[in-house]
């Protein structure tokens, strides 16, 4: 039975958007998108730590246990592999009837190593997870982001995502 936890925001971090003129990037390489393996975890943790400035080893081990391996129906943890090196990752799952919505795919984490960005790797990752969602029988994909996470918001917008008919709400709980 799937856990009824709300999706966590996709990369809830503060990050400045790149300058208007594209900086020189690493040349695009041949990239394959495949399910994450245990041996990829150090690279995933390193990419996340480089971007957020916050290493979270135990969090990523827990995510790996929940989202990787056989029998994880509707859960996807994919990596972009170039010559045996992980350049990026995406994680998501299919959620049934949460928030009153018919089953749909949720992307809750995506990241690409900064020096390999603007080379289509994020697009490849999103395309691959969407293909998995379609195979799982869902035809809607959603994500949630901090409204000041302009870089990743722009990426999802560029992929055709629009505002969803939901409003995220929160409140502080008294101690």
């Amino acid at each position: 039975m799937r856990e009824a936890v709300p999706p966590t925001p996709a990369r809830p971090r503060q990050e400045k958007p790149p300058p208007r003129r594209s900086p020189v990037r690493q040349a695009p390489e041949v990239v394959a998108v495949r399910p994450a393996r245990r041996g990829d975890l150090d690279r995933v943790i390193a990419i996340d730590a480089a971007v957020t400035g916050l290493p979270k080893r135990s969090y990523w081990l827990s995510i790996y246990r929940r989202y990787s391996g056989a029998g994880r129906v509707g859960r996807y943890f994919l990596v972009a592999d170039s010559g045996g090196e992980v350049r990026g990752f995406i994680i998501g799952d299919v959620r049934d009837w949460e928030f009153g919505s018919p089953p749909c795919g949720w992307v809750f984490a995506i990241d690409v190593e900064p020096r390999f960005r603007v080379a289509g790797i994020g697009t490849r990752l999103l395309t691959a997870i969407c293909a998995n969602f379609r195979r799982a029988g869902v035809f809607k994909v959603r994500t949630i982001l901090a409204h000041d996470n302009t870089l990743i918001l722009s990426f999802f917008r560029s992929q055709g995502m629009m505002a969803a008919p939901f409003i995220p709400l929160e409140m502080d709980l008294e101690v």
Binding site: P17, P18, P19, R20, R21, S22, V118, H147, D148, T150, L153, S154, F156, R157, S158, G160, A163
Partner: protein, 156 residues
């Protein structure tokens, strides 16, 4: 959210240039398309040129052309040249804003401003071009669905 006339004109113009970044065309062409005076539009285009988004091209067949990166320039970058799409907290300028009701209202209005800014800051010209293409395709699909079947010549 309602944009001022100059802001709308600036967005229309920038997207016209973005649709064909290699081309340069005069203000009169865009003015005619959007039903405004060339003189009025010239002021808007001059402001865009001062902001480094357009570049004026002199000589025969001159006009303006786009000189920015389509994948980096966002709607808010253009809008902010002409207006502020949301006022900072406590700057609404009405007399009741320091009252408890005014402050509570300010919190709600600030939420809306934040969402507006986040949306405008996340949509680049390249994304807008793709959105325009999808809208155009959806319009064509609607028209072809409405077309009577006998028009295809396959009906007996």
């Amino acid at each position: 959210m309602k944009l001022q006339k100059n802001t709308s004109l600036a967005l229309y113009s920038v997207l016209e240039f973005a649709a064909d970044p290699t081309r340069h065309f005069p203000a009169t062409e865009i003015a005619a398309k959007y039903g405004v005076s060339a003189h009025h539009l010239a002021k808007v285009l001059a402001a865009l040129a001062r902001a480094g988004i357009l570049e004026s091209v002199r000589g025969v067949g001159g006009g303006y052309r786009l000189v920015c990166n389509l994948r980096r320039l966002t709607l808010i970058d253009v809008i902010q040249i002409f207006e502020d799409p949301g006022l900072p907290d406590g700057e609404r300028g009405d007399s009741g804003e320091s009252t408890p009701v005014g402050r509570a209202l300010g919190v709600v209005l600030s939420e809306i401003d934040q969402m507006t800014k986040a949306t405008l800051a996340s949509i680049t010209l390249a994304t807008m071009l793709r959105l325009m293409a999808r809208q155009q395709k959806a319009g064509q699909d609607r028209v072809s669905r409405r077309r009577p079947r006998h028009a295809s010549g396959r009906n007996p």
